[in-house]
Symmetry: C2
Subunit: 494 residues, 2 copies
């Protein structure tokens, strides 16, 4: 017997396919799909997930590059009430293993290119499907009747490493993603006639949320397999793109590559993942690119504070004002007006998956304590003064020093390690390390990089090593990273 | 500060206007509106409701004919979280007064044509606005930010008289209406390219639900002020109507009037409000009108059981099978397979408004006990054997004998009164009364009709009176209406 229908909307892609079957949904590598075509593919993917034995409430891990198939799987998961775990394809086998242990999925689907030694990950606990060909050969099982989604049902688990170095999976509900999409719509007015260019990885909330927003708003998406500045510039022109989300590094490269002047159809570029340098805003203005700096976290299902393009010029360095439905407070015990940013609103995650203590540490009485430091100006515009604790944002990827330090300290020759960020004109920041060897032992930068490379994703590996006699520490023993940052060598050591 | 966004869809008309602003929404008396235009009108209506002092959770009574303005008000109420009370325009001032007392609205908006003596209803408890001109002159107040609707929020109170003769207001939530629309969509596949012809009064759930379904499904509606067979036939052809809801009497009249053969665009006619005579199904088939008999109640936000056109021919007399999400059981204490129909599902009302005892009497453990008698055949098709208790359905209007009996018994000359239904070839059934005068007194049929006419809507007034010496009663004193029905004169006495 059918379960009661208990919400007021169908899974977003199916709802959209009903209302606008012939509307433009997705372009990927010159293949175009309407909403009806995408929904048909997603329905087939859902039936194959049922073949795999997945049911409502189960979890599905994906380790895949951007493609039509991953988009279908993302929607198929919502269709079935299955929680999606998109995994960062840049992680090592060891890192993936940790995330699979923590998230305990019923199945893993991955591109064969990604893991040479996936055999090590095959597990009795979940079914693993390698390659699209293998997935497509699964039988089309009967599927439960289409039914409305529930607001509080979990939609996604997205991992962030957290300051402890232990990965934490932010659990985002249908309602979190919907609220985020609606707040974004209220701000930039996304319409069915809009086309997003999605250059961001779908395992990051920023890339994923563009896909979800597009079916909620009825807009189309042009999806690239990865970021290439020239291809992005070409797409902006040829695909009549109106909306774009990037990190500052990507935009700078696109402007460097641009030889053809203003982009004809672009009406807004959201720039997130770190502060937007004022000179980038000016350069973009020259070619008629309106920039909207934005601030958000995995734990808030993407942007919660966004400036409009006029404010980006008028208020350099600010990420704007809270989007509709969100409240921001500055936790400011000394009354200086500067303090930890806390966020309350409908897109704040339900919590970290199977991590009650970690959840309690950041989520109290509905407020998410971000660890980021900021302040408001007199017009209530928000400025981010320091990213959460020791977070290093390099080219849009988050690196948590504690995780890299733990890998370095596992090297037999090292007694102490401190990982910190140094500014970089291209990447915003990059990862640096200061290490102290055990008495009588030593390790070269080359050897330490080799040690890291089998244990850490490439973007997490320090580009610079220094070898002081001791690390600068506070009286309580905490490393003084600010001192390391200020004394850092100006160039990477590779 | 904004309230948390706690559902996954905006008010239906606003959602639709975002996704399909230029789509055809409504035609009324040769005026066409797109979804964007209808939403703009509804937004203005909402601002005027705020001017009237109405706020989220308040109630708004409407006593209006079908028009663009009432459609705007219906959507405006959802926009603001105001509960709508559409009142039957055929009721007398006294009857309306009872409903206003029971529902206690914050405001009443009515067409000036309806009540000559509306002055009697003006109350300190609510603001009354007479005429569209008066409504349109209200100022446009600031309005709360557009926010998602909540599944469990009340949307409508629709009155039914009930067997006790006391009006009961069925409280229908957003989720009830959505579930009903979705179940209907799953059955007949309503699409944005469909056009409904709405000939039914909007104070009945059948007429109202077409409007709500149309914005949920993205279909258009052609709305008539009232039912006229020739106008309906013309509209079916000229307005390219694909879907129609009627009661059997209306369809019979349309077929009588039809001189032009098959209707070119009509793909399904839902026929509710009582059994569909097999000869009507045959007559309709001749002109290519596919009939879907349907069964539903105010308390279930319209249809819950519907036959498709093939089944209407294959299973004469059946109203089909439960729509998706609904369960039907036959409460059958004697094991005969025939018994009271009970319904469980997401479109079953929250309860009767401010009537806990009446609610408990019909709603137990999620099951709505309808009072209607029915059975399933071996293929699980439902047949309605007897409408609830003593209900008389005449031309699609429900008449409860107890209410009419109470009016008759208030006449000083009468000692006893029994109201019952007699079959009628045109109206399905009509209202009859058997009365017994007090000793030494008498009242003619003419006098009794005059007595009723100031106290009851026209369709409730008995067309036939008989004057037996005593009423047939059971041992416990209950009137044996079956005996009255079988001995009823074949023709109305007027």
């Amino acid at each position: 017997m059918a379960k009661p229908i208990d919400a007021c909307v169908l899974p977003w892609l199916w709802e959209r396919a009903h209302l606008d079957p012939h509307g433009f949904a997705l372009r990927f590598e010159s293949r175009d799909l309407t909403f009806a075509e995408l929904a048909a593919g997603a329905e087939a993917a859902a039936r194959r997930l049922v073949s795999l034995g997945l049911r409502e409430g189960d979890r599905l891990a994906l380790l895949m590059d951007s493609s039509v198939r991953i988009v279908e799987l993302i929607h198929a998961a919502q269709r079935l009430g299955i929680v999606l775990i998109p995994l960062n394809t840049r992680l090592t086998v060891a890192e993936i293993g940790v995330l699979l242990d923590a998230s305990d999925p019923g199945a893993l689907v991955y591109d064969s290119g990604h893991l040479n030694s996936i055999g090590a990950l095959r597990s009795d606990r979940f079914r693993a499907v390698e390659s699209i060909a293998e997935f497509d050969s699964l039988p089309l099982a009967p599927i439960p009747e289409l039914k409305p989604i529930q607001r509080d049902a979990p939609n996604t688990i997205i991992f962030t490493s957290g300051t402890t170095g232990t990965p934490k999976g932010a659990l985002l509900t249908n309602g979190n993603h919907f609220a985020s999409a609606l707040a974004a719509r209220n701000n930039i007015g996304a319409k069915p006639s809009d086309r997003w260019l999605d250059l961001l990885p779908l395992y990051h909330v920023a890339g994923l949320s563009i896909l979800l927003r597009s079916v909620i708003d009825g807009s189309g998406v042009v999806l690239h397999r990865g970021f290439d500045a020239a291809a992005a510039n070409q797409s902006l022109r040829e695909d009549r793109i109106t909306l774009l989300s990037v990190v500052a590094t990507m935009l700078a490269r696109m402007l460097d590559d641009n030889r053809e002047g203003p982009y004809p159809s672009l009406r807004c570029v959201l720039v997130g993942g770190g502060p937007v340098p004022p000179e980038l805003v000016s350069r973009a203005a020259v070619v008629g690119v309106p920039i909207a700096p934005t601030y958000g976290l995995t734990e808030t299902a993407s942007q919660v504070v966004t400036a409009n393009p006029k404010d980006a010029i008028r208020k350099p360095g600010s990420c704007g004002q809270p989007l509709s439905g969100n409240r921001i407070k500055i936790v400011d015990p000394d009354g200086s007006g500067r303090g930890e940013i806390a966020i309350k609103g409908p897109s704040v995650m339900a919590g970290y998956f199977r991590a009650a203590a970690e959840t309690r540490a950041v989520l109290r009485e509905g407020w998410l304590y971000t660890g980021d430091i900021g302040h408001f100006d007199s017009d209530k515009f928000l400025y981010i003064d320091d990213r959460r604790s020791d977070l290093i944002v390099t080219g849009g990827e988050n690196v948590y020093p504690a995780e890299v330090e733990a890998v370095l300290l596992s090297h037999p020759a090292l007694a102490e390690a401190a990982v910190y960020s140094v500014e970089d004109p291209e990447w915003g920041h990059r990862v640096a390390a200061a290490v102290v060897a055990r008495a009588g032992l030593q390790a070269s930068a080359q050897e330490l990089r080799a040690w890291c490379s089998s244990r850490l994703a490439r973007f997490k590996i320090p580009t610079t090593f220094s070898f002081p006699d001791a690390l600068p520490r506070t009286a309580s023993g905490k490393i003084k990273r600010a001192i390391l940052r200020s004394s850092s060598p100006p160039k990477p050591s590779i």
